[in-house]
């Protein structure tokens, strides 16, 4: 009897347990809650790319991909719970679309030896792979974003910002405050006056902030918003007749969700992006054939081509390429998380490779190294066309001011290493 029960229990465990040979890419998504509009788009893009690889190529290197999805509702505690509940399934890499969750997971990654990719979010100084061996934030981070925005403004002003006024309207959170140090350093370098104007969560009411903008008459407004804060900011800026082409958002303030509710008033609003936008890429032909038309699209299948959907596609492409690199490095198809980390650290994205993948000029070229987990800090400027209801890239990918950004990263990561007694990973 005992033998029968043991056999039965073993059978149930084998049937219910994960197929360990799969490449597991957990998706900590948020399809509910105040930030669901962006969360759904990212999760759909991420899932659709991985589905395409499974359906068209049989996975990566012939190894099937599995993507357990866990709902975080953009809540940090739930995000950590999701991580804990999925890491045992053979998780190869995490991409929490939340700076709060990313901060909580950073110390866990070192212990569990699972890599995390926080493209355009999270702790900026985790670019320093010498201190953060399991955290990556290529191709760009918040400070790169701030610097690229200032470079674009410099370009608009003929290279001289002396005496100009720039206001940073930001979410009053760790995320929103991230660019302040960079902008202060840039303000010293270029001679512009910087005013910081915080907006409390969720940002539904911003009258005071925009009356201040109206009084102080800055030449440019940089916007670091997320969720409802951005559409309200765009509407309020339009209300006070602030010129839209002089208002530039970070990539989390540059999606369709942020501008559609303002209608024609949002025309000309700009935002930086670390990837291309729209659906005019060859990969969409494959997505249509193998995913959409096959009824395998994630979610409702109605987000294709939106900015944050594109970000999800791009994020999935980056980890898939890292997995492919890891397979080649370790000469095995069934890689583990540590091998995945090695693949991420040796990742090189070239224009040639992106073209092969059906994503020509979809993102900047970059190369990851042991000390540089963040790429070269390239981002482009996009602009909203309210009539056509679409974002368009209006510049090439521009590199951030590394003379300003890199020392700040060194300083911040060194402080973190000293505080947490972290030995050098690269030496």
């Amino acid at each position: 009897m005992t033998k029968k029960l043991t056999t039965l229990a073993l059978g149930v465990m084998l049937a219910a347990g994960p197929a360990m040979a799969d490449l597991v890419f957990p998706s900590l998504s948020y399809r509910t809650g105040p930030y669901a509009a962006g969360g759904i788009q990212f999760a759909d893009g991420y899932a659709d790319y991985l589905t395409l690889l499974n359906e068209r190529d049989g996975g990566i290197g012939g190894e099937k991909i599995r993507m357990p999805e866990c709902e975080t509702a953009y809540n940090t505690e739930k995000g950590v719970e999701c991580y804990e509940s999925t890491k045992g399934e053979g998780a190869l890499v995490y991409q929490p679309l939340s700076t709060g969750i990313a901060y909580q997971l950073i110390p866990k990654m070192n212990v569990d030896k699972i890599p995390m990719l926080t493209s355009g979010l999270g702790r900026t100084s985790s670019k320093n792979g010498d201190v953060f061996p399991y955290v990556f934030n290529f191709p760009a981070n918040y400070w790169d974003g701030a610097s690229v925005i200032v470079k674009h403004i410099l370009d608009q002003e003929g290279g001289d910002l002396n005496g100009k006024k720039i206001a940073l309207v930001h979410h009053n959170s760790a995320y929103g405050k991230e660019p302040i140090r960079t902008l202060e350093a840039l303000s010293e370098k270029h001679g512009f006056d910087l005013t910081t104007i915080p907006v409390d969560h969720p940002g539904q009411e911003q009258k005071s902030q925009w009356l201040q903008v109206r009084r102080e008459r800055p030449d440019y407004v940089i916007l670091y918003g997320w969720g409802v804060m951005t559409p309200v900011a765009v509407q309020e800026a339009a209300n006070i007749r602030f010129p839209m082409d002089k208002m530039i958002g970070i990539w989390w303030s540059g999606s369709e969700n942020d501008v559609l509710s303002a209608g024609a008033a949002a025309d000309g609003y700009k935002a930086v992006a670390f990837h291309n936008v729209g659906s005019d890429f060859p990969i969409y032909d494959d997505l249509k054939e193998y995913v959409y038309d096959a009824g395998k699209a994630a979610g409702n299948g109605d987000q294709h081509g939106t900015t944050i959907y594109s970000r999800g596609l791009y994020a999935a492409m980056l980890v898939a390429e890292a997995a492919r690199t890891a397979q080649e490095m370790h000469d095995t198809k069934a890689i583990n998380a540590q091998q995945m980390r090695d693949g991420m650290e040796a990742l090189e994205i070239t224009e040639e490779r992106m073209t092969e993948l059906g994503m020509p000029k979809f993102g900047p070229e970059f190369k990851v190294t042991c000390r540089n987990h963040g790429g070269e800090g390239y981002a482009a400027v996009t602009q909203w066309d309210a009539k056509a209801k679409q974002w368009t890239l209006i510049t090439d990918f521009i590199q951030s001011d590394q003379d300003i950004v890199q020392p700040l990263i060194e300083e911040d990561s060194a402080a973190y290493a000293a505080e947490n007694n972290i030995p050098s990973h690269c030496d």
Partner: protein, 328 residues
């Protein structure tokens, strides 16, 4: 006149307008609390649900279409027609009445004579339920709400104040419309409560449930009526806030703006909600203008609560609340 004085005047005017919008949300809380002693945690979500329903009806969207498609393998999303804003508002009001009936029939009706904390907990459950139903019924996307309300700077006030002071004041047209609608809403509620049979019955229930029952007033009917009116107020608040930011989940968080208003104005007074809203609106905006810079900015959220607490030190029942004396 010095610039700072002009700016302070502009901030005060905008604070008054913002206060009206806060009062609109607080009004829904007051109506239900006054009539049934229930602090309706779901009032903010009701505003979200009402606004999403309004947009859904206007766009001719099939409710629960994603669920239907996933279950039956169909591909239906829209009926193929657009509904004019006014008719959609009427239809949405109807939906809110049905919701009120459901709340009374399936939730509150079963909890008569329970402790207030149990009724409060039930409304927390109702809030989560409505959040889920809103998503399931209409989807999670951000929707544009355009019922034809004007937005942007009021040119007349701008020009008038510029001629007067050499500085044009910014007042948003939407805020002006919201103020007029709020005034009409309050006037309508006062007339309804004072001069109609149902309104008088509502006041009787608010004063004393048992006495009202003893003279033949149906508690069930009155509570459905009150929840319906609160639903309509939520719809108005949803339209005003939804026009500013688009209709999205965050609309449910506007309830946070109403809490200090209620603490200050009292939970049982309609004029209290209005006056409380105005005091909070002006107070938080002026504080941000005068001292926000010294404190790193973004003071409005917490200052509203500090202001309400200061008032509570002097009048624990709020400005217009009823003083409750319980004798042993």
């Amino acid at each position: 006149m010095p610039d700072q004085v002009l700016f302070a005047m502009e901030v005060t005017l905008n604070g008054l307008m913002a206060g009206v919008l806060y009062a609109l949300v607080a009004l829904g809380f007051v109506l239900i609390f006054k009539a049934s002693g229930i602090f309706n945690f779901a009032q903010g979500v009701m505003a979200l649900f009402a606004a999403m329903t309004l947009v859904g009806i206007m766009e001719g969207q099939v409710p629960f279409s994603h669920l239907i498609n996933a279950t039956f393998g169909t591909d239906i999303h829209h009926f193929g027609w657009q509904v004019p804003a006014l008719l959609a508002i009427v239809l949405t009001t109807g939906v809110m009445v049905v919701l009120a009936w459901c709340v009374q029939r399936f939730v509150m009706g079963h909890l008569v004579n329970q402790e207030p904390i149990i009724l409060f907990m039930a409304t927390i459950g109702l809030a989560y339920f409505l959040e889920g139903v809103s998503d399931l019924m209409w989807g999670s996307e951000i929707r544009t709400l355009d019922v034809g309300l004007p937005q942007g700077i009021n040119e007349t006030i701008d020009a008038f104040t510029y001629d007067l002071f050499g500085y044009g004041f910014f007042i948003d047209n939407l805020d002006i419309v919201a103020s007029v609608i709020a005034a009409l809403l309050v006037a309508g509620l006062v007339v309804f409560a004072q001069y109609t049979k149902q309104g008088r019955a509502m006041r009787a229930v608010a004063d004393d449930h048992q006495a009202a029952l003893s003279v033949g007033i149906s508690l069930n009917f009155i509570w459905v009526l009150v929840w319906s009116i609160a639903g309509f107020v939520a719809l108005v608040a949803g339209i005003m806030w939804g026009t500013k930011s688009g209709v999205q989940f965050s609309l449910s968080l506007i309830a946070l703006k109403a809490l200090p208003v209620l603490m200050l104005g009292g939970f049982t007074s309609i004029p209290g909600a209005i006056v409380g809203g105005l005091i909070i609106g002006v107070g938080e905006k002026l504080f941000e203008f005068l001292l926000g810079g010294l404190m790193g900015g973004a003071t409005e959220n917490w200052f509203a609560y500090v202001l309400a607490l200061l008032f509570l030190l002097v009048r624990p029942q709020g400005l217009f609340g009823e003083k409750i004396i319980e004798r042993v």
